[in-house]
């Protein structure tokens, strides 16, 4: 028994080719399995099919079926289905219905008709299991990404399904939170016998937890399964998997540092009433690449949000000697932003408009936009809305649009978020090459220390609201 995909084919609409193509695969409940593969290869789709959420919510199964413990999840009603298979999603922001952790867990227990007198005990057990008893009455909105994922896990523990499926559960959280959640999942598997199938691009959080790695390519599972503990890092790299100890091998020119373009002097920033950045000072030079790393909630997004005007700040943030707060509208674009979610930066009605909006002042905008779109293989989609592109395509468009813009400093908030090895390298190579060639400062944030070490000239660590050069942060 386990999860069985039997000759399964699935497509999102009649006129598209199948994303899952005659797939046959069995997942053993006795092992924790991680499914990986290139972005857009159909991993998440496969997970949604196993969870019974597709085809009910989207797409068509053209052949075959999925069985979990001998049952077709799509034919069960939601309360029955969630007792068979629970799911944790990539985005911790959009998986809660209630206001507090307590109410959310009770909501889950009510859904599966647990008697009122048993609820308190189950609630306590799930909170203790995930080590979040102190968060019981906290508002979900006030939790960090890692805490939200722990709350989501507590919901799964409370429901106690036979299987748990995880769709990139660590994409939004720092390594420490990721490892503690992975450890809790390992415990859930060992103590409760819960089957676990996770989709992830990065394997380092699963070391010591997962038993097998399966790779998906072109809608199918590659026959060989990899033992996570004994896998050769180079072999993993060849398969496009981001594994610990594997270098990214960037192909970018050497740095030629020139004058300072961006400076912070005693920069303090708040989110709501809480001060997140406690007076940071730093300077960034043209032609250099800087990585900012730090745990979830350390203030990376707050720093970038303050620079883009989303969050208020005090102190000074100077771009070419001018305070960012006082830049004229025509000067605001001198600092470019690539956001974690590419949809946050779209301003055009069509794919081509998106590029053209960056080239407004260029007399050769039309021909240049064609050149750029052909280079990122999106020319054929030029007249459709950027929101209709796949996530990988949106990421390419977002990056290309900002690269096309004539800025002095490019700030990227997790530009490789939820990307596979090949896409990660392609995005970083393009960004870094552009930064070198145009002699602009590139500042990017990441949770991946290896990525920072391989691409950045300087690594800065945000810790407890302070910014340290990497060698200082460990002091």
């Amino acid at each position: 028994m386990g999860i069985t995909f039997d000759n399964l084919s699935f497509k999102y609409s009649e006129n598209l080719k199948p994303l899952v193509d005659k797939l046959g695969w069995s997942v053993d409940r006795r092992a924790i399995t991680v499914l990986t593969g290139a972005s857009g290869c159909g991993k998440s789709t496969l997970l949604y099919l196993a969870a019974g959420l597709y085809p009910e919510n989207s797409g068509i199964i053209t052949t075959g079926h999925v069985l979990i413990e001998g049952k077709d999840p799509a034919k069960l009603n939601p309360p029955e289905r969630c007792r068979l298979v629970g799911m944790m999603f990539q985005n911790p922001e959009l998986q809660f219905c209630m206001d507090t952790v307590r109410n959310e867990i009770l909501f889950c227990l009510e859904n599966i008709a647990i008697p009122q007198e048993e609820m308190e005990e189950k609630l306590r057990f799930s909170l203790d299991f995930c080590g979040i008893r102190d968060l019981e009455n906290r508002a979900l909105l006030s939790l960090s990404g890692g805490e939200k994922q722990k709350a989501a896990l507590a919901c799964v523990v409370a429901i106690s399904p036979e299987w748990v499926l995880l769709d990139e559960p660590f994409a939004n959280i720092d390594d420490m939170s990721a490892r503690s959640i992975a450890a809790a999942l390992g415990k859930l598997h060992k103590e409760k016998g819960v089957g676990i199938l996770a989709v992830d691009h990065r394997l380092d959080n699963w070391i010591g937890i997962a038993d097998n790695v399966a790779i998906m390519k072109d809608g199918r599972i590659i026959p060989e399964e990899i033992d996570v503990r004994n896998a050769n890092p180079e072999k993993l790299r060849d398969l496009g998997i981001i594994a610990p100890g594997v270098h990214y091998a960037p192909s970018i020119p050497q740095p030629t540092p020139s004058d300072i373009v961006l400076e912070f002097h005693n920069l303090k920033a708040c989110r709501g009433k809480k001060e997140i950045l406690h007076g940071i000072s730093a300077s960034f030079r043209r032609g250099m690449i800087y990585a900012i790393i730090g745990e979830s909630g350390s203030g990376k997004s707050t720093l970038f949000g303050a620079l883009s005007g989303i969050f208020p700040y005090s102190g000074k943030a100077l771009l070419d000697g001018k305070d960012i707060k006082h830049l004229k509208r025509s000067e605001a674009g001198m600092i470019g932003f690539i956001t974690q979610n590419p949809q946050d930066q779209f301003v055009g009605g069509t794919v081509r408009d998106e590029i053209l909006s960056s080239l407004r002042k260029d007399p050769e905008a039309a021909s240049k936009s064609e050149e750029i779109l052909r280079a990122i293989k999106l020319w054929r989609y030029r007249d459709i809305s950027p929101y209709l592109l796949s996530q990988g395509q949106q990421r390419r468009l977002g990056t290309a649009a900002l690269i096309a813009y004539d800025c002095h400093c490019l700030v990227c908030d997790e530009p490789t978020y939820a990307q596979d090895l090949m896409n990660t390298m392609a995005i970083m190579d393009a960004l870094c090459r552009e930064a070198r060639e145009r002699n602009i400062a590139l500042i990017f944030s990441t949770h991946d220390r290896q990525l920072a070490a391989d691409y950045a000239d300087e690594i800065l660590t945000l810790k407890e609201g302070q910014l340290y050069a990497d060698s200082e942060s460990s002091l």
Partner: protein, 235 residues
């Protein structure tokens, strides 16, 4: 007020609102406003918070006073000044009537909004007023999205500014991405709720059943029967 059954509270306060709408008596309106303030303070709402909430109300009330004062109905109008109870100085009284209405409705509205927990309210509406559960929990989930919307609005605005494009607060270019995102969010949220076993028609249990107590019945009877009868007798 915080422990009153929200459905009973809602019906009671709605009845008082309708009663005041029919009375056209500024003293009843002002009394309702003052009682609402007193109950809010007794329910633990801080004076500072209350004053902040009342600021726009006072401005609106002042505006309504001057509108009522300036545009009193003349005898040729369908609604004449002599239909008002106070005829000593109809211009002034018309202004006071408009002002007191704003204060009374705002006071009653705040009394409900500031003393009612939203989860408790939805549970109560579902149980006592038979609100469909898909609507009740959809409402709660949507509530959770509002803070994200405010942040997304700022992000989208920042994206335009970063490319030197000027946008106005309600410009379609700015609202289009927000609409796309809200549709996407609602889809993700409904999938997440379904994966946690939520169904519009399956049987659910209740972790803290919302019951109607004697005090809820007393409050409802007072607001829905005793007050209208008193109003009828005194007018």
């Amino acid at each position: 007020m915080r422990t009153l059954n929200p459905a009973c509270k809602f019906i009671s306060l709605l009845a008082v609102t309708l009663l005041l709408a029919g009375l056209k008596d500024p003293w009843w309106n002002l009394s309702a406003f003052l009682v609402s303030l007193l109950l809010l303070l007794l329910s633990g709402i801080r004076m500072r918070t209350l004053l902040l909430y009342l600021l726009p109300v006072v401005l609106a009330a002042a505006g309504m006073f001057f509108t009522g004062y300036r545009f009193t109905a003349e005898s040729a109008m369908p609604v004449r000044s002599d239909t008002f109870i106070f005829q000593g100085n109809s211009q002034l009284m018309n202004g006071i009537l408009q002002l007191s209405r704003v204060l009374a409705y705002a006071g009653l509205g705040y009394l409900f909004a500031l003393t009612t927990d939203r989860v408790f309210m939805v549970r109560s509406f579902q149980k006592q007023l038979h609100l469909p559960q898909v609507f009740a929990y959809g409402l709660l989930a949507a509530w959770g999205i509002f803070p994200h919307m405010a942040l997304e609005y700022k992000r989208t605005k920042a994206a335009f500014r970063a490319r030197g494009i000027r946008v106005y607060p309600v410009s379609p270019a700015l609202l289009a991405p927000l609409l796309v995102k809200s549709v996407r969010w609602s889809e993700e949220l409904s999938i997440a709720m379904e994966s946690k076993g939520f169904s519009s028609n399956a049987r659910r249990t209740d972790s803290s059943p919302v019951r109607v107590h004697a005090r809820d019945i007393l409050f409802t009877v007072f607001c829905c029967i005793m007050l209208p009868v008193t109003a009828l007798l005194t007018h």
